[in-house]
Protein backbone atom coordinates (compact mmCIF):
# COMPACT_ATOMS: atom_id res chain seq x y z
CA UNK A 1 0.00 0.00 0.00
CA UNK A 2 1.48 3.32 -1.02
CA UNK A 3 1.98 5.74 1.84
CA UNK A 4 -0.53 8.57 2.05
CA UNK A 5 0.81 12.07 1.52
CA UNK A 6 0.60 13.84 4.87
CA UNK A 7 -1.95 16.39 3.86
CA UNK A 8 -4.47 13.72 3.10
CA UNK A 9 -3.85 11.56 6.13
CA UNK A 10 -6.39 12.37 8.81
CA UNK A 11 -4.10 11.05 11.52
CA UNK A 12 -1.14 13.15 10.54
CA UNK A 13 -2.71 16.43 9.56
CA UNK A 14 -3.44 17.44 13.13
CA UNK A 15 0.10 16.77 14.33
CA UNK A 16 1.67 18.58 11.42
CA UNK A 17 -0.48 21.67 11.91
CA UNK A 18 0.56 21.76 15.54
CA UNK A 19 4.18 21.27 14.60
CA UNK A 20 3.97 24.15 12.18
CA UNK A 21 2.29 26.46 14.70
CA UNK A 22 4.66 25.39 17.45
CA UNK A 23 7.69 25.98 15.27
CA UNK A 24 6.39 29.37 14.21
CA UNK A 25 5.81 30.45 17.79
CA UNK A 26 9.20 29.15 18.87
CA UNK A 27 10.87 31.13 16.10
CA UNK A 28 9.09 34.34 17.08
CA UNK A 29 9.91 33.88 20.75
CA UNK A 30 13.53 33.04 19.97
CA UNK A 31 13.80 36.13 17.83
CA UNK A 32 12.33 38.35 20.52
CA UNK A 33 14.53 36.85 23.20
CA UNK A 34 17.67 37.29 21.15
CA UNK A 35 16.78 40.92 20.52
CA UNK A 36 16.13 41.28 24.22
CA UNK A 37 19.49 39.79 25.09
CA UNK A 38 21.25 42.04 22.60
CA UNK A 39 19.56 45.22 23.71
CA UNK A 40 19.96 44.48 27.38
CA UNK A 41 23.68 43.85 27.15
CA UNK A 42 24.05 47.01 25.14
CA UNK A 43 22.31 48.97 27.86
CA UNK A 44 24.40 47.28 30.48
CA UNK A 45 21.50 45.52 32.15
CA UNK A 46 21.27 41.81 32.69
CA UNK A 47 18.13 40.11 33.89
CA UNK A 48 18.55 39.85 37.63
CA UNK A 49 16.67 40.66 40.81
CA UNK A 50 19.69 41.83 42.79
CA UNK A 51 18.85 45.49 42.25
CA UNK A 52 15.84 45.02 44.51
CA UNK A 53 18.16 45.43 47.47
CA UNK A 54 19.49 48.76 46.38
CA UNK A 55 18.22 51.86 48.18
CA UNK A 56 15.16 53.28 46.47
CA UNK A 57 15.82 56.93 47.01
CA UNK A 58 12.23 58.10 46.54
CA UNK A 59 9.43 58.86 48.94
CA UNK A 60 6.07 57.27 48.98
CA UNK A 61 3.28 59.68 49.83
CA UNK A 62 1.44 57.35 52.17
CA UNK A 63 2.12 53.86 53.37
CA UNK A 64 0.69 51.46 55.87
CA UNK A 65 4.04 49.74 55.95
CA UNK A 66 6.78 51.83 57.58
CA UNK A 67 9.02 53.05 54.80
CA UNK A 68 11.76 55.59 54.30
CA UNK A 69 13.50 56.77 51.16
CA UNK A 70 16.64 54.91 52.20
CA UNK A 71 14.85 51.57 52.20
CA UNK A 72 15.32 49.13 49.34
CA UNK A 73 13.35 48.96 46.12
CA UNK A 74 11.99 45.68 47.32
CA UNK A 75 10.51 47.33 50.38
CA UNK A 76 9.11 50.15 48.27
CA UNK A 77 7.31 47.68 46.04
CA UNK A 78 6.06 45.85 49.10
CA UNK A 79 4.68 49.10 50.47
CA UNK A 80 2.93 49.65 47.16
CA UNK A 81 1.48 46.16 47.32
CA UNK A 82 0.16 46.79 50.83
CA UNK A 83 -1.46 49.98 49.58
CA UNK A 84 -3.10 48.09 46.75
CA UNK A 85 -4.38 45.42 49.11
CA UNK A 86 -5.75 48.12 51.40
CA UNK A 87 -7.74 49.72 48.59
CA UNK A 88 -8.92 46.40 47.20
CA UNK A 89 -9.94 45.06 50.59
CA UNK A 90 -11.95 48.09 51.67
CA UNK A 91 -13.26 48.56 48.14
CA UNK A 92 -14.59 45.03 47.86
CA UNK A 93 -16.51 45.32 51.11
CA UNK A 94 -18.02 48.72 50.37
CA UNK A 95 -18.79 47.94 46.75
CA UNK A 96 -20.52 44.71 47.67
CA UNK A 97 -22.62 46.49 50.27
CA UNK A 98 -23.67 49.29 47.95
CA UNK A 99 -24.16 46.89 45.06
CA UNK A 100 -26.42 44.55 47.01
CA UNK A 101 -28.51 47.46 48.26
CA UNK A 102 -28.83 48.95 44.78
CA UNK A 103 -29.57 45.58 43.22
CA UNK A 104 -32.24 44.74 45.76
CA UNK A 105 -33.67 48.27 45.52
CA UNK A 106 -34.51 47.69 41.88
CA UNK A 107 -37.19 45.28 43.07
CA UNK A 108 -38.68 47.68 45.56
CA UNK A 109 -42.37 48.48 45.51
CA UNK A 110 -41.51 52.15 45.77
CA UNK A 111 -41.12 53.57 42.24
CA UNK A 112 -38.84 56.36 43.41
CA UNK A 113 -36.41 53.88 44.90
CA UNK A 114 -36.61 51.69 41.84
CA UNK A 115 -36.04 54.62 39.53
CA UNK A 116 -33.13 55.89 41.60
CA UNK A 117 -31.45 52.50 41.51
CA UNK A 118 -31.92 52.05 37.77
CA UNK A 119 -30.73 55.57 37.04
CA UNK A 120 -27.66 55.07 39.19
CA UNK A 121 -26.70 51.88 37.38
CA UNK A 122 -27.40 53.16 33.88
CA UNK A 123 -25.49 56.40 34.40
CA UNK A 124 -22.44 55.01 36.17
CA UNK A 125 -21.96 52.01 33.90
CA UNK A 126 -21.67 54.10 30.77
CA UNK A 127 -19.06 56.57 31.98
CA UNK A 128 -15.42 55.43 31.96
CA UNK A 129 -13.98 54.70 35.40
CA UNK A 130 -10.91 56.83 34.86
CA UNK A 131 -13.07 59.83 34.05
CA UNK A 132 -15.06 59.26 37.22
CA UNK A 133 -11.86 58.96 39.26
CA UNK A 134 -10.32 62.19 38.00
CA UNK A 135 -13.66 63.89 38.48
CA UNK A 136 -13.92 62.83 42.10
CA UNK A 137 -10.33 63.73 42.83
CA UNK A 138 -9.92 67.02 40.99
CA UNK A 139 -13.41 68.39 40.93
CA UNK A 140 -14.62 67.27 44.34
CA UNK A 141 -12.00 66.23 46.86
CA UNK A 142 -9.37 68.80 45.93
CA UNK A 143 -11.95 71.56 46.32
CA UNK A 144 -12.74 70.69 49.93
CA UNK A 145 -12.50 73.56 52.43
CA UNK A 146 -9.58 73.92 54.85
CA UNK A 147 -9.65 72.11 58.19
CA UNK A 148 -11.26 74.87 60.21
CA UNK A 149 -14.20 74.96 57.85
CA UNK A 150 -14.39 71.22 57.40
CA UNK A 151 -17.53 69.71 55.90
CA UNK A 152 -19.48 67.89 58.58
CA UNK A 153 -21.33 64.68 57.78
CA UNK A 154 -22.55 62.04 60.23
CA UNK A 155 -19.36 60.38 61.43
CA UNK A 156 -17.26 62.05 58.73
CA UNK A 157 -15.32 65.23 58.48
CA UNK A 158 -14.13 66.31 55.05
CA UNK A 159 -11.36 68.84 54.66
CA UNK A 160 -8.40 69.71 52.48
CA UNK A 161 -6.12 67.72 54.72
CA UNK A 162 -8.05 64.53 54.41
CA UNK A 163 -11.16 62.59 55.28
CA UNK A 164 -11.54 61.85 58.96
CA UNK A 165 -13.70 59.08 60.34
CA UNK A 166 -14.91 58.60 63.86
CA UNK A 167 -14.33 61.65 65.94
CA UNK A 168 -11.57 63.98 64.91
CA UNK A 169 -11.29 67.23 66.76
CA UNK A 170 -10.15 70.63 65.75
CA UNK A 171 -6.87 71.54 67.51
CA UNK A 172 -5.10 74.77 66.58
CA UNK A 173 -6.77 74.96 63.21
CA UNK A 174 -5.89 71.37 62.38
CA UNK A 175 -7.87 68.18 62.62
CA UNK A 176 -6.36 65.43 64.72
CA UNK A 177 -7.42 62.05 65.93
CA UNK A 178 -9.78 59.51 64.45
CA UNK A 179 -9.01 57.57 61.27
CA UNK A 180 -7.56 59.66 58.51
CA UNK A 181 -7.85 58.84 54.85
CA UNK A 182 -5.79 60.86 52.45
CA UNK A 183 -7.69 62.68 49.73
CA UNK A 184 -6.14 60.39 47.17
CA UNK A 185 -7.30 57.26 48.91
CA UNK A 186 -10.73 58.73 49.57
CA UNK A 187 -11.19 59.73 45.94
CA UNK A 188 -9.94 56.37 44.71
CA UNK A 189 -12.27 54.49 47.02
CA UNK A 190 -15.23 56.67 46.16
CA UNK A 191 -14.82 56.31 42.42
CA UNK A 192 -13.93 52.63 42.54
CA UNK A 193 -16.76 51.71 44.89
CA UNK A 194 -19.44 53.66 43.04
CA UNK A 195 -18.36 52.22 39.69
CA UNK A 196 -17.98 48.62 40.83
CA UNK A 197 -21.19 48.70 42.86
CA UNK A 198 -23.16 49.53 39.71
CA UNK A 199 -21.95 46.34 38.06
CA UNK A 200 -22.42 44.32 41.23
CA UNK A 201 -25.97 45.68 41.39
CA UNK A 202 -26.61 44.23 37.95
CA UNK A 203 -25.24 40.86 39.01
CA UNK A 204 -27.42 40.91 42.12
CA UNK A 205 -30.42 41.98 40.09
CA UNK A 206 -29.86 39.13 37.65
CA UNK A 207 -29.52 36.71 40.52
CA UNK A 208 -32.72 37.80 42.23
CA UNK A 209 -34.57 37.78 38.91
CA UNK A 210 -33.49 34.20 38.36
CA UNK A 211 -35.45 33.05 41.40
CA UNK A 212 -38.86 31.88 40.16
CA UNK A 213 -41.79 34.13 40.89
CA UNK A 214 -43.44 31.25 42.67
CA UNK A 215 -41.02 31.67 45.55
CA UNK A 216 -42.15 35.24 46.14
CA UNK A 217 -45.78 34.25 45.96
CA UNK A 218 -45.35 31.33 48.34
CA UNK A 219 -43.60 33.53 50.88
CA UNK A 220 -46.28 36.18 50.58
CA UNK A 221 -49.00 33.64 51.14
CA UNK A 222 -47.19 32.56 54.30
CA UNK A 223 -47.41 36.11 55.56
CA UNK A 224 -43.80 37.24 55.07
CA UNK A 225 -43.22 40.94 54.35
CA UNK A 226 -41.21 41.75 51.19
CA UNK A 227 -38.02 42.63 53.01
CA UNK A 228 -38.09 39.45 55.06
CA UNK A 229 -38.87 37.42 51.96
CA UNK A 230 -35.86 38.86 50.26
CA UNK A 231 -33.60 38.15 53.16
CA UNK A 232 -34.80 34.68 54.10
CA UNK A 233 -36.12 33.11 50.91
CA UNK A 234 -34.97 34.80 47.74
CA UNK A 235 -31.45 35.97 48.46
CA UNK A 236 -30.10 32.57 49.57
CA UNK A 237 -31.32 31.06 46.32
CA UNK A 238 -30.16 34.00 44.26
CA UNK A 239 -26.67 33.61 45.69
CA UNK A 240 -26.11 30.56 43.55
CA UNK A 241 -26.28 32.75 40.46
CA UNK A 242 -24.73 35.81 42.06
CA UNK A 243 -21.49 34.34 43.42
CA UNK A 244 -19.93 33.40 40.05
CA UNK A 245 -20.84 36.83 38.69
CA UNK A 246 -19.24 38.46 41.71
CA UNK A 247 -16.02 36.60 41.00
CA UNK A 248 -15.43 38.46 37.75
CA UNK A 249 -16.52 41.79 39.25
CA UNK A 250 -14.10 41.41 42.16
CA UNK A 251 -11.26 40.64 39.79
CA UNK A 252 -12.22 43.72 37.79
CA UNK A 253 -12.09 45.82 40.91
CA UNK A 254 -8.66 44.48 41.80
CA UNK A 255 -7.37 45.31 38.33
CA UNK A 256 -9.03 48.71 38.25
CA UNK A 257 -7.23 49.67 41.46
CA UNK A 258 -4.18 50.19 39.25
CA UNK A 259 -5.77 53.40 37.98
CA UNK A 260 -4.67 54.91 41.28
CA UNK A 261 -1.61 56.14 39.43
CA UNK A 262 -3.75 58.78 37.71
CA UNK A 263 -4.67 60.49 40.96
CA UNK A 264 -1.48 60.12 42.89
CA UNK A 265 -2.24 57.26 45.24
CA UNK A 266 0.90 55.13 45.52
CA UNK A 267 -0.45 51.67 44.79
CA UNK A 268 1.72 48.85 43.48
CA UNK A 269 1.55 49.98 39.88
CA UNK A 270 2.44 53.58 40.70
CA UNK A 271 5.46 52.53 42.78
CA UNK A 272 6.47 50.11 40.05
CA UNK A 273 6.35 52.87 37.46
CA UNK A 274 8.60 55.07 39.57
CA UNK A 275 10.95 52.14 40.11
CA UNK A 276 11.13 51.54 36.40
CA UNK A 277 11.87 55.16 35.65
CA UNK A 278 14.74 55.14 38.11
CA UNK A 279 16.31 51.77 37.44
CA UNK A 280 15.42 51.13 33.82
CA UNK A 281 14.69 47.52 34.77
CA UNK A 282 11.66 47.21 32.52
CA UNK A 283 11.44 43.46 32.07
CA UNK A 284 11.87 42.51 35.71
CA UNK A 285 9.40 45.11 36.93
CA UNK A 286 6.87 44.08 34.33
CA UNK A 287 7.17 40.39 35.21
CA UNK A 288 6.83 41.19 38.91
CA UNK A 289 3.69 43.22 38.25
CA UNK A 290 2.12 40.49 36.15
CA UNK A 291 2.96 37.85 38.71
CA UNK A 292 1.41 39.84 41.54
CA UNK A 293 -1.77 40.75 39.72
CA UNK A 294 -2.25 37.26 38.37
CA UNK A 295 -1.64 35.95 41.87
CA UNK A 296 -4.22 38.34 43.26
CA UNK A 297 -6.74 37.20 40.66
CA UNK A 298 -6.04 33.60 41.55
CA UNK A 299 -6.59 34.24 45.25
CA UNK A 300 -9.90 35.95 44.59
CA UNK A 301 -11.00 33.13 42.27
CA UNK A 302 -10.06 30.46 44.80
CA UNK A 303 -11.95 32.26 47.56
CA UNK A 304 -15.01 32.75 45.38
CA UNK A 305 -14.98 29.14 44.23
CA UNK A 306 -14.92 28.09 47.86
CA UNK A 307 -17.80 30.44 48.55
CA UNK A 308 -19.68 28.98 45.63
CA UNK A 309 -19.35 25.53 47.05
CA UNK A 310 -20.43 26.77 50.45
CA UNK A 311 -23.50 28.41 49.00
CA UNK A 312 -24.61 25.36 47.06
CA UNK A 313 -23.91 22.90 49.88
CA UNK A 314 -26.29 24.78 52.12
CA UNK A 315 -29.14 24.06 49.75
CA UNK A 316 -28.90 20.34 50.05
Amino acid sequence: MTALPWWRDSRKVGWLVQAAVGLGLLLVVALLLSNLEHNLTRAGLRLTLGWLNQPAGFDIAETLLPYRASDSYGRALLAGLVNTLRVVGIGLVLATGLGVVAGAASFSTNPLLRGLSRTYVEVVRNIPLLLQLVFWYFAVFLTLPPANQALQLPGLQLAKSGVYLLGARLVNGELVGGWRLSLELAALLTGLVIYSAAFIAEVVRGGIASVPKGQWEAAESLGLKPLATLRLVVLPQALRVIVPGLNSQYISLAKNSSLAVAIGYPDLYAVAETTLNQTGRGIEVFLLLMAVYLGLDLCISVLMNGLERLVSLKDR
Binding site: L4, W7, D9, S10, R11, V13
Partner: protein, 247 residues
Protein backbone atom coordinates in the same frame (compact mmCIF):
# COMPACT_ATOMS: atom_id res chain seq x y z
CA UNK B 1 -23.62 -10.25 -7.81
CA UNK B 2 -20.58 -8.26 -8.85
CA UNK B 3 -18.87 -5.98 -6.39
CA UNK B 4 -19.83 -2.94 -8.47
CA UNK B 5 -23.36 -3.59 -7.33
CA UNK B 6 -22.35 -3.29 -3.72
CA UNK B 7 -22.99 0.21 -2.43
CA UNK B 8 -21.98 -0.50 1.16
CA UNK B 9 -19.72 -3.29 2.30
CA UNK B 10 -19.05 -3.32 6.03
CA UNK B 11 -17.03 -6.18 7.49
CA UNK B 12 -16.23 -6.88 11.10
CA UNK B 13 -16.55 -3.27 12.22
CA UNK B 14 -15.39 -2.73 15.80
CA UNK B 15 -15.68 0.53 17.68
CA UNK B 16 -14.65 1.43 21.22
CA UNK B 17 -15.41 4.73 22.94
CA UNK B 18 -12.56 6.42 24.85
CA UNK B 19 -14.08 5.25 28.15
CA UNK B 20 -13.65 1.62 27.07
CA UNK B 21 -17.24 0.86 26.15
CA UNK B 22 -17.50 -1.20 22.95
CA UNK B 23 -20.23 0.21 20.73
CA UNK B 24 -19.81 -2.07 17.74
CA UNK B 25 -18.76 -5.71 17.81
CA UNK B 26 -17.78 -7.14 14.48
CA UNK B 27 -20.78 -5.71 12.66
CA UNK B 28 -21.26 -6.86 9.05
CA UNK B 29 -23.58 -5.50 6.40
CA UNK B 30 -23.90 -5.53 2.63
CA UNK B 31 -26.18 -3.13 0.79
CA UNK B 32 -26.68 -3.54 -2.95
CA UNK B 33 -27.55 -0.81 -5.41
CA UNK B 34 -31.22 0.11 -5.25
CA UNK B 35 -31.74 -1.89 -2.07
CA UNK B 36 -33.69 -0.58 0.91
CA UNK B 37 -32.35 -1.80 4.25
CA UNK B 38 -34.05 -1.02 7.54
CA UNK B 39 -32.06 -1.34 10.76
CA UNK B 40 -33.96 -1.86 13.99
CA UNK B 41 -33.01 -2.60 17.55
CA UNK B 42 -33.32 -1.54 21.18
CA UNK B 43 -31.83 1.80 22.22
CA UNK B 44 -28.12 1.61 22.81
CA UNK B 45 -27.75 -1.25 20.34
CA UNK B 46 -25.35 0.74 18.20
CA UNK B 47 -27.60 1.05 15.16
CA UNK B 48 -27.15 4.82 14.82
CA UNK B 49 -23.44 4.47 15.45
CA UNK B 50 -23.20 1.82 12.74
CA UNK B 51 -25.12 3.99 10.31
CA UNK B 52 -22.87 6.94 10.97
CA UNK B 53 -19.73 4.97 10.18
CA UNK B 54 -20.96 4.81 6.59
CA UNK B 55 -20.31 8.52 6.04
CA UNK B 56 -17.40 8.88 8.46
CA UNK B 57 -19.35 10.77 11.12
CA UNK B 58 -18.14 8.04 13.46
CA UNK B 59 -14.71 6.49 13.23
CA UNK B 60 -13.97 2.86 13.97
CA UNK B 61 -10.95 0.98 15.20
CA UNK B 62 -11.38 -2.45 13.62
CA UNK B 63 -12.80 -3.94 10.45
CA UNK B 64 -13.43 -2.24 7.12
CA UNK B 65 -16.08 -0.16 5.44
CA UNK B 66 -16.20 0.30 1.68
CA UNK B 67 -18.79 2.69 0.27
CA UNK B 68 -19.43 2.68 -3.47
CA UNK B 69 -16.01 1.17 -4.01
CA UNK B 70 -14.21 3.79 -1.95
CA UNK B 71 -12.49 2.54 1.18
CA UNK B 72 -13.05 4.47 4.42
CA UNK B 73 -9.63 4.89 5.91
CA UNK B 74 -7.39 7.74 6.97
CA UNK B 75 -7.26 9.22 3.50
CA UNK B 76 -9.02 12.57 3.72
CA UNK B 77 -9.72 12.56 0.02
CA UNK B 78 -11.64 9.32 0.35
CA UNK B 79 -13.70 10.69 3.21
CA UNK B 80 -14.61 13.78 1.22
CA UNK B 81 -15.51 11.71 -1.84
CA UNK B 82 -17.73 9.42 0.19
CA UNK B 83 -19.53 12.30 1.87
CA UNK B 84 -20.38 13.76 -1.51
CA UNK B 85 -22.03 10.53 -2.59
CA UNK B 86 -23.84 9.76 0.65
CA UNK B 87 -26.75 11.84 1.85
CA UNK B 88 -27.90 11.83 5.46
CA UNK B 89 -31.11 12.81 7.20
CA UNK B 90 -30.98 13.38 10.97
CA UNK B 91 -33.43 12.89 13.76
CA UNK B 92 -33.15 16.57 14.74
CA UNK B 93 -33.42 17.79 11.12
CA UNK B 94 -30.34 20.05 11.58
CA UNK B 95 -31.42 22.63 9.04
CA UNK B 96 -29.32 25.79 8.96
CA UNK B 97 -31.50 28.33 10.78
CA UNK B 98 -29.75 31.40 9.44
CA UNK B 99 -30.44 30.46 5.81
CA UNK B 100 -33.73 30.28 3.94
CA UNK B 101 -35.10 26.92 2.89
CA UNK B 102 -33.85 27.45 -0.63
CA UNK B 103 -30.42 28.55 0.53
CA UNK B 104 -30.23 25.45 2.71
CA UNK B 105 -30.48 23.36 -0.43
CA UNK B 106 -28.14 25.53 -2.50
CA UNK B 107 -25.27 25.72 -0.03
CA UNK B 108 -23.57 22.37 -0.60
CA UNK B 109 -23.94 21.94 -4.40
CA UNK B 110 -22.63 25.46 -4.98
CA UNK B 111 -19.70 25.26 -2.58
CA UNK B 112 -18.76 21.58 -2.78
CA UNK B 113 -19.64 20.56 -6.33
CA UNK B 114 -18.92 24.06 -7.59
CA UNK B 115 -22.05 24.13 -9.70
CA UNK B 116 -23.45 27.45 -10.96
CA UNK B 117 -26.05 28.87 -8.64
CA UNK B 118 -28.78 29.43 -11.21
CA UNK B 119 -28.63 25.82 -12.34
CA UNK B 120 -28.82 24.47 -8.81
CA UNK B 121 -31.69 26.81 -8.07
CA UNK B 122 -33.82 25.15 -10.75
CA UNK B 123 -33.07 21.74 -9.37
CA UNK B 124 -33.68 22.83 -5.80
CA UNK B 125 -37.08 24.30 -6.57
CA UNK B 126 -38.06 21.11 -8.38
CA UNK B 127 -36.97 19.04 -5.38
CA UNK B 128 -38.94 21.23 -3.02
CA UNK B 129 -42.02 20.70 -5.15
CA UNK B 130 -41.39 17.00 -5.07
CA UNK B 131 -41.40 16.89 -1.26
CA UNK B 132 -44.35 19.27 -1.10
CA UNK B 133 -42.60 22.40 0.19
CA UNK B 134 -42.64 24.38 -3.05
CA UNK B 135 -44.41 27.51 -1.77
CA UNK B 136 -42.19 27.74 1.32
CA UNK B 137 -38.92 28.09 -0.55
CA UNK B 138 -38.20 31.58 0.79
CA UNK B 139 -39.20 30.91 4.37
CA UNK B 140 -36.80 30.19 7.18
CA UNK B 141 -36.63 26.86 9.05
CA UNK B 142 -37.93 28.44 12.24
CA UNK B 143 -41.16 29.24 10.49
CA UNK B 144 -41.88 25.66 9.46
CA UNK B 145 -43.39 22.74 11.34
CA UNK B 146 -41.33 19.69 12.23
CA UNK B 147 -42.68 17.59 9.42
CA UNK B 148 -42.00 20.33 6.91
CA UNK B 149 -38.47 20.80 8.20
CA UNK B 150 -37.67 17.12 7.87
CA UNK B 151 -38.94 17.10 4.30
CA UNK B 152 -36.69 20.08 3.57
CA UNK B 153 -33.84 18.12 5.13
CA UNK B 154 -34.52 15.26 2.76
CA UNK B 155 -34.62 17.63 -0.20
CA UNK B 156 -31.37 19.23 0.97
CA UNK B 157 -29.63 15.87 1.03
CA UNK B 158 -31.08 14.97 -2.38
CA UNK B 159 -29.85 18.20 -3.90
CA UNK B 160 -26.32 16.83 -3.79
CA UNK B 161 -27.46 13.95 -6.02
CA UNK B 162 -26.21 11.24 -3.69
CA UNK B 163 -26.02 7.58 -4.60
CA UNK B 164 -27.06 6.44 -1.14
CA UNK B 165 -29.39 8.00 1.40
CA UNK B 166 -28.96 7.30 5.12
CA UNK B 167 -31.81 8.04 7.54
CA UNK B 168 -31.10 8.19 11.28
CA UNK B 169 -34.48 7.84 13.04
CA UNK B 170 -36.01 10.48 10.77
CA UNK B 171 -39.45 10.48 12.39
CA UNK B 172 -38.60 9.98 16.06
CA UNK B 173 -38.70 13.70 16.85
CA UNK B 174 -42.00 14.34 15.10
CA UNK B 175 -45.57 14.58 16.30
CA UNK B 176 -47.54 11.49 15.23
CA UNK B 177 -49.57 13.46 12.68
CA UNK B 178 -46.41 14.64 10.96
CA UNK B 179 -44.77 11.24 10.76
CA UNK B 180 -46.92 10.18 7.85
CA UNK B 181 -46.02 13.06 5.55
CA UNK B 182 -42.32 12.31 5.98
CA UNK B 183 -42.76 8.57 5.49
CA UNK B 184 -44.70 9.29 2.31
CA UNK B 185 -41.74 11.18 0.91
CA UNK B 186 -39.39 8.39 1.89
CA UNK B 187 -41.65 5.80 0.36
CA UNK B 188 -41.73 7.71 -2.93
CA UNK B 189 -37.97 7.98 -2.84
CA UNK B 190 -37.71 4.24 -2.38
CA UNK B 191 -40.01 3.53 -5.31
CA UNK B 192 -37.92 5.85 -7.46
CA UNK B 193 -35.00 3.48 -6.94
CA UNK B 194 -32.77 5.18 -4.36
CA UNK B 195 -30.46 3.01 -2.28
CA UNK B 196 -31.56 3.60 1.31
CA UNK B 197 -30.44 2.56 4.76
CA UNK B 198 -32.97 3.57 7.40
CA UNK B 199 -32.70 3.32 11.17
CA UNK B 200 -36.25 3.52 12.47
CA UNK B 201 -38.92 2.08 14.74
CA UNK B 202 -41.63 2.38 12.09
CA UNK B 203 -42.62 -1.25 11.55
CA UNK B 204 -45.24 -0.40 8.94
CA UNK B 205 -42.67 1.36 6.83
CA UNK B 206 -40.26 -1.56 7.17
CA UNK B 207 -42.85 -4.10 6.15
CA UNK B 208 -43.88 -2.09 3.13
CA UNK B 209 -40.65 -0.68 1.77
CA UNK B 210 -37.69 -2.68 3.06
CA UNK B 211 -35.95 -5.33 0.99
CA UNK B 212 -34.22 -6.56 4.12
CA UNK B 213 -34.57 -5.79 7.81
CA UNK B 214 -31.61 -5.89 10.18
CA UNK B 215 -31.72 -6.36 13.95
CA UNK B 216 -28.89 -4.93 15.97
CA UNK B 217 -28.36 -5.58 19.65
CA UNK B 218 -25.41 -4.65 21.87
CA UNK B 219 -23.28 -3.66 18.92
CA UNK B 220 -23.79 -6.84 16.94
CA UNK B 221 -25.78 -7.60 13.84
CA UNK B 222 -28.08 -10.31 15.08
CA UNK B 223 -30.37 -11.08 12.19
CA UNK B 224 -30.79 -10.00 8.58
CA UNK B 225 -33.88 -11.10 6.69
CA UNK B 226 -36.59 -9.93 4.28
CA UNK B 227 -39.47 -8.27 6.20
CA UNK B 228 -41.83 -11.16 5.66
CA UNK B 229 -39.48 -13.55 7.41
CA UNK B 230 -38.16 -11.01 9.91
CA UNK B 231 -41.50 -10.06 11.39
CA UNK B 232 -43.42 -13.32 11.03
CA UNK B 233 -40.76 -15.98 11.48
CA UNK B 234 -37.66 -14.60 13.21
CA UNK B 235 -34.79 -17.03 13.57
CA UNK B 236 -33.10 -15.65 16.69
CA UNK B 237 -34.29 -15.49 20.27
CA UNK B 238 -33.19 -11.85 20.62
CA UNK B 239 -35.17 -10.91 17.54
CA UNK B 240 -38.24 -12.56 19.00
CA UNK B 241 -37.76 -10.70 22.26
CA UNK B 242 -37.34 -7.37 20.49
CA UNK B 243 -40.42 -7.94 18.32
CA UNK B 244 -42.43 -8.87 21.36
CA UNK B 245 -41.60 -5.47 22.83
CA UNK B 246 -42.49 -3.39 19.84
CA UNK B 247 -45.35 -5.25 18.21
Amino acid sequence: MTSSQLMIEARGVNKWYPNGFQALRGADLEVRRGEKVVIMGPSGSGKSTFLRTFNALEDFQGGSVVVDGIALNNDLRNIDAIRREVGMVFQQFNLFPHLSVLDNLLLAPVWVRKRPRAEVRQQALALLERVGIGPQADKFPGQLSGGQQQRVAIARALCMEPRIMLFDEPTSALDPEKVREVLDVMRQLAFDGMTMVVVTHEVGFAREVADRVVLMDEGEVVEVAPPQQFFNDPQHERTRRFLAQIL
